[in-house]
């Protein structure tokens, strides 16, 4: 039975053609090239995800990047458990005051040079939670951000386009 299921999965060819890198993301990243000039990531990225206050909607869509439709790993992009193994931090949520220190520490633990991607409207500008005693607000208020991917939550497609732009840019660096 497992064999049948496996065959079904493969025969269906659910994995979709790679989208083009996002134009907006490429434009945003262009200005950042210099900072990464010393870095050659090749065609591979290791990402550490940090929920700094999200409602968990963004996490659901980040998870979807690993399903067979988007299959992030085929691009050499993978999620890693430790910031010490990461090139990229993908940060979600309006950074809460209760998570600020954890985010800063994760950022410091990530080896230089590194890229920070703010994922979702909350991470981009605070979103619906911005004006609260409990939230610092956008990720950029806490750590430097290289790429913003808006959306509430951004679709996996939008995230993929952004990450591919990062891959192209960093490979040129």
């Amino acid at each position: 039975m497992r064999k049948i299921l496996l065959e079904n999965l493969i025969r269906g060819r659910l994995t979709e053609p790679a989208p083009a890198a996002s134009e907006a993301a490429l434009a945003e990243l262009a200005g950042r090239l210099e900072r990464s000039a010393q870095r050659r990531l090749g065609r591979s990225l290791s990402i550490r995800e940090v929920d700094a206050g999200s409602c968990n909607g963004c996490e659901l869509e980040i998870h979807a990047l690993n399903n067979v439709f988007y299959d992030l790993e085929r691009f050499g992009i993978r999620f890693v458990a430790s910031p010490r193994h990461a090139d990229v931090l993908m940060v979600t949520g309006p950074v809460t005051h209760n998570m600020r220190e954890a985010l800063e520490r994760t950022w410091r633990a990530t080896p230089d040079p590194k890229w920070v991607v703010a994922v979702g409207d909350c991470a981009v500008d605070g979103g619906v939670f911005g004006a609260s005693y409990a939230c610092v607000g956008p990720v950029a208020a806490v750590v430097p951000v290289d790429l913003h991917i808006p959306g509430c939550p951004p679709t996996p497609q939008a995230m993929l386009e952004g990450l591919l732009a990062l891959l192209e840019t960093s490979a040129k660096g």
């Binding site: 409602c55 968990n56 979807a64 690993n66 999620f79 005051h97 004006a131 609260s132 005693y133």
Partner: protein, 505 residues
């Protein structure tokens, strides 16, 4: 005394507040508050929520069968109230939160430590004018004594793509002797953001308390608002809300079943569940315009009607799930290595789920046969018969099996809702001139969500409280892991899948 008459007695003792719907709100004195506390402690009543307000504390209580509810309110002119947690443990964390956010001190509380306040707010929260001094001191974990014990602190940032929280394990060799959770890291101040918000903005906030349950929260919030304003959504809107709610339930259960199997090193299930989950989200996007269906349920109705083509898309989705999902269930049932990890792991006893009135699969896997779609019930479920699976073994396996059967039940529900979709408008304009107070429960995939709202004349939210099912499930996860090996924690945790954001607010 029956639970019904105990509740009726309690209600007769106080002063009924006008304009609170559909269940009564009663202002009671300290003696009756203590009486209510005793009824919770001995299991005559169940606790469904406890929250602070300006100069008062509220508590939502229910009969254990959830066929009757009420809110009881105690004025706290001196900022104190007799602790409920002292005799009824499920209230402890809610009381700690009320102290953080309103400065309300629960007298004789068994655990007075701060909870959501980590001593990092730049201005005092919500109902406080000062900082909580003890929150600025280092957090003290519970002491553990014994030979050969070691501690493993984990988080707030975890290894996977999951929400932040701190777990402190005390282990003897591989065996967990105690788990202590520390939460509150994603506290966003939702209660404060709600106060003064327009209904439109408040609905968006409610739909972002826990993103995975955005539809359920939006439904609970809409019901509470509609109750407060003495109105209800048109029949077609109610049916479409339920279609979305059941899609959300299916999508989340698929994700969690796959994740549990993945943590048991069985990635095939994860891949297949991921395919079906993605199909559900794509169908949702094509029918309702958003993969998670955020902001589609609004007070008064729904924001998007379902076109005929949309109904066909959903029927095709149901057919695919109907064709594929039973095969996945058969694989789960037939894989000994998987069962070896899930059967007998992370057991929660019936007494605990009853005591905590734990909702969702956590309660139903341990013999608590409550689903608020059925009792107290709300439209359109009150005219539909559907299966509410209940098991007794209370382990990871039971929680997985409950979810599997709920997927089947939701599939049947959507099919019947589509067959019988009422015609007519999908929204109506609510008259908010008079304001009011409303209470509602909705069954999210992980259990019941409670929303209480007070609306000012003119339509702004004066105060809202949203209680996730997780409040009464997180403490049971501490109990579930006791005596299990540390390596089984991820499995237990995923089988619960409590919300951090929904709890931290």
């Amino acid at each position: 005394m029956t639970t019904m008459s105990a509740l009726a007695d309690l209600l007769a003792a106080g002063r009924r507040v006008a304009g609170h719907r559909p269940w009564p709100r009663i202002e009671i004195d300290r003696a009756d508050w203590e009486r209510a506390t005793a009824l919770l402690g001995d299991g005559t009543l169940a606790l469904s929520g406890l929250w602070g307000d300006a100069g008062a504390v509220h508590m939502a209580v229910a009969t254990p069968a959830f066929d009757a509810l009420a809110v009881v309110t105690l004025a706290c002119p001196d900022g104190t109230f007799p602790s409920v947690g002292r005799v009824h443990a499920p209230a402890i964390r809610l009381e700690r939160a009320a102290a953080d956010l309103f400065g309300l001190v629960s007298i004789d509380a068994p655990d007075p430590r701060p909870w959501l306040d980590h001593g990092r707010f730049p201005t005092p929260p919500l109902g406080r004018s000062d900082f909580r001094a003890d929150a600025r001191r280092p957090y003290v974990f519970l002491p553990v004594e014994g030979e050969g014990l070691h501690q493993i602190p984990v988080g707030p940032v975890h290894a996977g793509i999951i929400e932040p929280g701190h777990f402190r394990f005390t282990a003897n060799g591989e065996t967990v002797v105690r788990l202590e959770q520390r939460l509150g890291y994603v506290h966003k101040g939702i209660d404060a953001l709600m106060s003064g918000a327009t209904l439109e903005r408040a609905a968006r906030l409610a739909g972002r308390v826990s993103g995975d349950s955005t539809v359920a929260y939006a439904i609970a919030f809409a019901h509470a608002v509609e109750a407060a304003l003495g109105d209800e959504a048109p029949p077609r809107a109610q049916a479409l809300r339920a279609v979305m709610a059941e899609l959300e339930r299916i999508a989340n259960h698929l994700g969690d079943i796959g994740a549990v199997c993945n943590d048991a090193s069985f990635s095939l299930m994860h891949a297949h569940c991921g395919v079906l989950r993605e199909r559900v989200l794509r169908a949702a996007a094509s029918c309702f315009g958003h993969r998670l269906m955020m902001d589609r349920v609004v007070p008064g109705g729904v924001a998007t009607d379902l076109a005929a083509a949309g109904a066909a898309t959903l029927r095709a989705l149901l057919a695919e799930i109907g064709a594929r999902f039973p095969e996945l269930v058969a694989i789960y049932d037939g894989t000994a290595s998987l069962q070896d990890r899930t059967v007998g792991t992370g057991i929660v006893g019936r007494d605990l789920v009853m005591h905590f009135a734990a909702g969702g699969h956590v309660g139903r896997a341990s013999g608590r046969a409550i689903d608020v779609r059925r009792t107290p019930g709300y439209p359109p479920y009150d005219r539909l018969a559907f299966d509410v699976p209940v098991l007794e073994s209370g382990d990871v396996d039971a929680r997985v099996l409950i979810r599997m059967r709920e997927i089947e039940a939701s599939r049947g529900l959507i099919a019947r809702l589509l067959d019988d979709l009422p015609a007519g408008p999908v929204a109506r304009t609510l008259d908010s001139a008079g304001g009011g107070e409303g209470l509602a429960l909705a069954e999210a995939f992980r259990g019941d969500v409670l929303v209480w709202v007070r609306i000012e004349p003119g339509g702004r939210v004066a105060r809202a409280f949203l209680r996730d099912a997780s409040w009464f499930q997180w403490p049971l996860l501490e109990a579930a892991i006791e005596g299990n090996i540390v390596a089984d924690f991820p499995l237990c945790n995923k089988s619960f899948n409590c919300s951090y954001s929904g709890h931290d607010l």
